[in-house]
Amino acid sequence: MKEVIVVIRKSPFNTTRNSEALRMCVGLTLEEDNKVTAVLLGDSAYLLLENNPELVSSGIIQKHIETIKLLKHRVVVEKEAFERLDKGHVKYKDLEIMDQSQIAEFISTGDVVITY
């Protein structure tokens, strides 16, 4: 089993790369020995809000996050970033929330870490 951690750091409002990072997370699950975790740091936490990425010519977001969770892989969000969100607009339930020090420790356990 390989612990594969994909760290997403940028705001989804400034780049289409977040959608690509999430697509990559879904793709990484295709090899059953990969245990994939998407870690949302900083402004990438805005990915968890209701959104319409097509309005800014961005790719799919919601379906990728739902697929990662459906396949029993993980989505972790930074506590400090999550606290800045309007919880009434957070799209997902049962999110894993870790503070920065827990995330740092978790990342150090990864076999493969991909930052995006």
Partner: protein, 101 residues
């Protein structure tokens, strides 16, 4: 033989290109097998001479066909026209994996 996996998602003007080229050359010279996966703007390296040179030296280059088609980049003989599944396998099989984003 040890295997090094490399993910390259930036286009050819990034300093990542030079780093990946030199790192791959050094690894091959040390007898390490190198797999390179190109996605996002990294697919523009299909038109990059130095990257073709890496394939000539023995590196296996795989491109995300979805991203290449999006960017209207033509298929080349020296690359495998692949998918995210190829990346998943590469991540699983390599001893070390480096991402250049």
């Amino acid at each position: 033989m040890e295997k090094l996996g490399i993910l390259l998602t930036t286009s050819t003007e990034s300093e990542n290109t030079h780093t990946v080229v030199k790192l791959t050359e050094a690894a091959i010279n040390e007898g390490v097998e190198v797999d390179i996966f190109l996605m996002c703007d990294g697919v523009y390296h299909l038109n990059h001479e130095e990257l073709k040179g890496l394939a000539d030296k023995g590196a296996r280059v795989v491109v995300c066909a979805h991203n290449a088609i999006e960017r209207k980049v033509d298929k080349k003989d020296f690359v495998t026209w692949g998918s995210q599944y190829d990346l998943a396998c590469m991540v699983k099989e390599c001893d070390r994996f480096l991402a250049f984003n």
